[in-house]
Symmetry: D2
């Protein structure tokens, strides 16, 4: 059976395989070839589209835009030599750290001036 971890690993491998490929033949090769500003700009753009889809309450569009956002995040990860597995590991580490949510909560409460 295929897990999310497997799917992201496979997509990461596809992105990795585009490094040095012909920019005229592949969208990812083109982004990697043009350098960071090209894909970072897309991250800012897609984050805004996620926000707009959510404000529209359009769940299907939200899924599409989050896919775009995660995809371009993965191009950035590959460019800098890290991977979605590293991101998953970080998310698991936080989940595993007892009290992690409580820490974020205390910080959020302070931010709003609420008594701890």
């Amino acid at each position: 059976m295929t897990t999310s971890n497997d799917s992201l690993a496979r997509l990461h491998a596809v992105i990795e395989s585009r490094k040095g490929a012909d920019p005229e033949q592949s969208y990812v090769a083109r982004l990697l070839h043009k350098g960071p500003d090209a894909f970072l700009k897309k991250i800012g753009e897609e984050a805004t589209e996620v926000v707009m889809a959510a404000k529209d309450g359009d769940a299907r569009k939200l899924v599409d835009e989050v896919a775009d956002l995660w995809f371009h995040s993965m191009v950035a990860l590959a460019y800098y030599g890290v991977s979605p597995a590293d991101v998953i590991a970080e998310l698991e580490r936080r989940e595993g750290t007892s009290g992690i949510e409580e820490k974020a909560l205390r910080k959020a409460q302070q931010r709003e001036g609420g008594a701890p």
Copy 2:
């Protein structure tokens, strides 16, 4: 079906379990309770932090910020009744669609003034 090693599915279940939980006890419950603007704002903020970590060439920080970005995306997905599995399915659909990258490429070429 969700397997035990499907990290995003497990994290999604944790987020789902926070719906209706005490906002004073959980960061996620607090975000969900405050409503969309609270977590959508975080998506814009974290996307910017991804861009800054990348511009610094700091791969470790990039992983941390992408984890933050994906995490808050997952809060949005849960709020609107969809899931990371839907995002993964969309990414796989695109990967599986022959010619999908070529289509994105043609669009990008047009955008830059390349002949159609």
Copy 3:
């Protein structure tokens, strides 16, 4: 002599004059015709480009990108029936309100957990 206020008012008048104009003849008419998502997306994109220009320490590019960001903000203002004069008035109101910076400061200090 021309002030910033005058310049922004004149640019606002130009944008206003594009409402209902032929989308094939004017970039602003086209944005207004396509509706909010078209120019809001640009605001997210240009904000990211401001961040990237700043991280590059490129002051000339920063000016260009802030110009793009403010320009598309002004399209949004016009679309919703408000103007840069309203923004200027709000900025002046804050400046005039004694203690406004101190309030922002206290909030920032709390956010970081520093004692007031």
Copy 4:
């Protein structure tokens, strides 16, 4: 030359005067002291809040959020040694350049696959 009714020039002077001031006494001094990431993060955050206010169709909130966005842009301008006057000059240059809108328009048409 700056006239007494040039609001942005006056606000710029206030921001400039905070360079090197006590970070404990002034919000702007604090942002400048903490360095670029502090105010650039705010630009990403405020741009998202502009988008959300617009999607809500809340013109008053839009004015407030655009004021926040422009204010933090001005902190960035000051940090890098440029000013709102430079931004206004760039906006005027574009407005004055005959055909500038037509150029943006042609680019936008190409982007959407329209014939060049």
